[in-house]
């Protein structure tokens, strides 16, 4: 059947596998090809190997599940923070963190997430609201004492119309830089100030718009539609909450434990930009209402009282209570993520959080 010299097989055998996988040089490849043409045994071996290879190459690949991506990003964030902490310790510039004067235990987030297991990366040993306590929370520049409000006012802030300045960005940038040198973040106050300005203004100057998704329920006015309010904000102040898509990614129940006596839950949302390109994750941590509130600026929005603030690492958050549940809505993971530092205190980030709240409110409205 075969016309070739069988002894040739023994010289071909050592390189046959390399031939199959194209690991030979051109001339060697040709030599083996010539032999295979003539030798049915070697041809059978080759076709068998090639067939399996083709079969394997043709199958669809597994994609890493999103849960893995999220988990990994979270772990890397933690690695980063630990690395930074080590670096800070080494630089021996550490100062004792100032005690927050409002009496929440400083080493615990407001509802005492177990320190060893920060669910979505809340820095375990830092209060997540972390506004520099010596700063009035609406971001008056410290070098202008005439505008500084006393503590009493801080608890019950007045609308601060017209307080923002064109130099806001520079101020924020400076604050970011100084905060990276080891101090507590001071920018949050400024950002909160800005957001407060927008929001209180819309609240005080215009009666809250009460519209529902369902036109039939407009009349009774029982269902607030924050979406309209957001639109109002856009017209009024250029906050521009662009239409984003909010998707619920997953939900999870946190069991009660020694550090967390009450059960809670976390809802994770993905907020997709209009272009669909980026999808940031927003976490809504839920606990029974009535616990300690983080330090934030009270804001009326969609008929609800919200607290806006920034966590220690600069993460903007919105805290509110609804139907007996306290919500702490914030971004997942490290902050800022891919954005330049200068955009850290941008009110745009609050707009994303508002989108989630609006989404929830709309959902609730449709269920009623």
């Amino acid at each position: 059947m075969t016309t070739h010299d069988r002894s040739e097989c023994s010289t071909i055998a050592p390189v046959l596998q390399a031939y199959i996988d194209h690991e030979l040089t051109g001339t060697e490849q040709e030599r083996v090809a010539g032999h295979i043409d003539a030798c049915s045994d070697c041809r059978a071996t080759t076709s068998e190997q090639l067939w399996v290879r083709a079969a394997l190459r043709s199958i669809e690949r597994d994609r890493a599940p999103n849960s893995l991506r999220l988990r990994l990003a979270e772990t890397l964030d933690r690695e980063d923070r630990e690395g930074k902490k080590d670096a800070a310790r080494a630089s021996s510039l550490e100062q004792a963190p100032p005690q927050p004067p409002w009496g929440v235990e400083p080493n615990q987030p407001p509802w005492g997430v177990e320190p060893n297991q920060p669910p979505w990366g809340v820095e375990p040993n830092q209060p997540p609201w972390g506004v520099e306590p010596n700063q009035p929370p609406w971001g008056v520049e410290p070098n202008q004492p005439s505008e500084t409000l006393d503590r009493k006012d801080r608890r019950n802030p007045q609308p601060v119309i017209g307080r923002t300045r064109p130099s806001f960005g520079h101020h924020v940038w400076g604050a970011v830089q100084s905060s990276l040198k080891g101090g507590l973040a001071m920018i949050p106050a400024a950002a909160v100030g800005l957001a407060l300005f927008f929001l209180t203004r819309s609240d005080t100057e215009t009666p809250p718009l009460v519209v529902s998704l369902d036109p039939s329920s407009v009349a009774d006015g029982s269902t607030p539609n924050p979406k309209n309010q957001a639109t109002h904000l856009e017209n009024e102040r250029g906050i521009a909450p662009r239409p984003r898509r909010v998707e619920l990614v997953d939900a999870r129940i946190d069991r009660a434990n020694s550090a967390e006596p009450q059960r809670g839950a976390q809802l994770r949302y993905r907020v997709v930009d209009r272009d669909g390109a980026s999808g940031r994750h927003v976490i809504d941590r839920q606990r029974p209402a009535g616990g300690p509130s983080p330090l934030g600026v009270p804001v009326a929005f969609g008929g609800e009282r919200l607290l806006l603030g920034h966590a220690e690492d600069g993460l903007p958050f919105i805290h509110f209570e609804r139907d007996g549940v306290a919500h702490w809505v914030s971004f997942e993971g490290r902050w800022p993520q891919a954005t330049p530092m200068g955009a850290m205190a941008d009110d745009e980030s609050f707009a994303v959080l508002f989108d989630v709240i609006v989404h929830q409110a709309s959902f609730d409205a449709t269920r009623r």
Partner: protein, 213 residues
Amino acid sequence: MSTARDTTRAEFEQLALPQLDAMYGVALRLTRNPAEAEDLVQDAMVRAYRFWNTFKQGTSVKAWLFTILRNTFINGYHQSNRRRSARADLASQLPSLGSQAALGQASAPTGGPDAMMSERVTRERIVTALEAIPEDYRMAVILADLEGLAYKEIAEIMDCPIGTVMSRLHRGRRLLYKLLLDHAVELGWIERETSNENAKTIDFATYRNRGSA
């Protein structure tokens, strides 16, 4: 201080994270369990992140990551009972896969596997077969055929000579061929005549069934 870390993170996200799917794919075939695969990839990636400074820029990040993946697997996920169960799996696979030949219709060979491979059944069949072969063979075949790596890279990842890579590949594919043969015949990828001899070597039940069919 934070700048160096940020650079590391940026590099890692740019170079290593795009390999996550590939890492998961390999991990899934190694562990044969999605939850374990996730854990394995997570561990390996965190390890890679910690030791990112040991990665030589310009070399294959894929090979580097796979090396870490394999080491992590061997160190943490590789208990002796798993090895035994792999053998048991292989033993149990052979008859069940082989018996499919009883239903095989001899038909004209088509243009090769590509045409049929989109079928999920086929994919599952291949994956099942792949997971049934011994680990060293499996690893070599995965790296070569699923990931398209060269002998040299596979040798580095598996920490063995290139000759060993070749023999593992050869044997691995040969086993897979036997495991998949009947399915291939059934779908008409391979002519029955060429397959008969091989079929006989793997499963006598096939022949008994054929007689009664």
